[in-house]
């Protein structure tokens, strides 16, 4: 769902792009401040490796139906692993490299893409925390990871549909139903992959669920 600059065509879409840049900068500043205050231990290695993995995983498109494909976004995955603040920063790095080196997602549209994937992805942490009462040991943990991953893709697709709507003659009446239609299925892929990743990591190295354990008492919202 990376929005290219090609879709930022008229005054309403430029206004939306600028607006999303401002919102993105505000969230970025907030995550950075909170990240510095929250992490009591260095998460450098986990942050670097999980970000690199998400970049690699985003390159691999899986086919869904109707000659369409999707790929993992990884926002909820990073949020569970790193907590919300580092997840937002991590995904921002992934998107930045994609936009700068590979023109995957626009520069003008960067605020939009960062909001749809990095910020929604990072904030999905709080929904998992709510559903599991902050415990990765909860019986509801894995089902929550699935549902929230799916939901984060749907929410991102919905916002993306609104953001690109000025470029379409039919506006939101065209973009919202069609984006949600494809992302209902793409989100199932997101949920399945995220569950496989998180449950395997939990089995191999339970201590790695830093997002939930490290931050348990510190992430109040």
């Amino acid at each position: 769902m990376h929005i290219p600059d090609g879709l930022i065509t008229n005054v309403p879409s430029i206004a939306a792009a600028v607006g999303m840049w401002i919102i993105f900068i505000a969230f970025l500043a907030w995550s950075w401040k909170k990240a510095k205050a929250t992490y009591s231990r260095s998460i450098t290695a986990l942050l670097a490796i999980s970000s690199a993995f998400v970049f690699a995983a985003q390159m691999i498109n899986f086919p869904i139906a109707f000659g369409t494909s999707g790929h993992l976004v990884g926002g909820t995955f990073l949020a569970v692993l790193l907590g919300p603040y580092a997840a937002i920063l991590s995904m921002t790095i992934v998107l930045l490299m994609q936009a700068f080196f590979f023109a995957d997602g626009g520069i003008l549209a960067f605020g939009m893409n960062a909001f749809n994937m990095a910020i929604i992805g990072g904030l999905s942490f709080f929904l998992i925390k709510l559903l599991t009462r902050g415990s990765a040991g909860s019986r509801r943990f894995i089902p929550s990871v699935f549902v929230v991953s799916w939901l984060s893709v749907m929410a991102g697709a919905l916002v993306a549909a609104l953001e690109v709507s000025p470029a379409f003659a039919g506006g939101v009446m065209v973009t919202v139903p069609s984006m949600l239609f494809y992302h209902v299925i793409i989100g199932l892929g997101e949920g399945a992959i995220t569950v496989v990743l998180i449950s395997s990591l939990q089995r191999v190295q339970p201590a790695i669920m830093g997002g939930l354990t490290l931050l348990k008492e510190k992430t109040k919202l």
Binding site: L89, A103, F168, V174
Partner: protein, 95 residues
């Protein structure tokens, strides 16, 4: 450290195995653009390796794989520097 290198190597293997299997179909947003015909203009920034391909390399597999490996290392480096900048001073690292 050894464990970290093993995971990074595994990411490279993952790319090498899955790049040829990846679907080249349009993604959800691209499909919507194709179906309904958006007012689209040419992008003003094409990146250094547009569409995850290195123009100088003819073989599409090698080209995409190298672009992917390059991107993975750039993210690794940037996130590592971010982690260092973010880390509290004088504390042990999370294993």
């Amino acid at each position: 450290m050894k464990k970290h290198l093993a995971v990074i190597a595994a990411i490279m293997v993952f790319l090498a195995v899955f790049i040829p299997l990846a679907s080249s179909n349009p993604d959800g947003l691209e499909r919507v653009v194709e179906t309904f015909g958006a007012a689209e203009h040419a992008p003003f920034w094409n990146g250094l390796m547009s569409d995850y391909a290195i123009a100088a390399i003819g073989n599409p597999y090698v080209s995409t794989l190298l672009a992917g490996v390059f991107g993975t290392f750039m993210v690794l480096l940037a996130a590592f520097l971010l982690g260092k900048a973010m880390a509290p001073k004088n504390t042990e690292a999370l294993k």
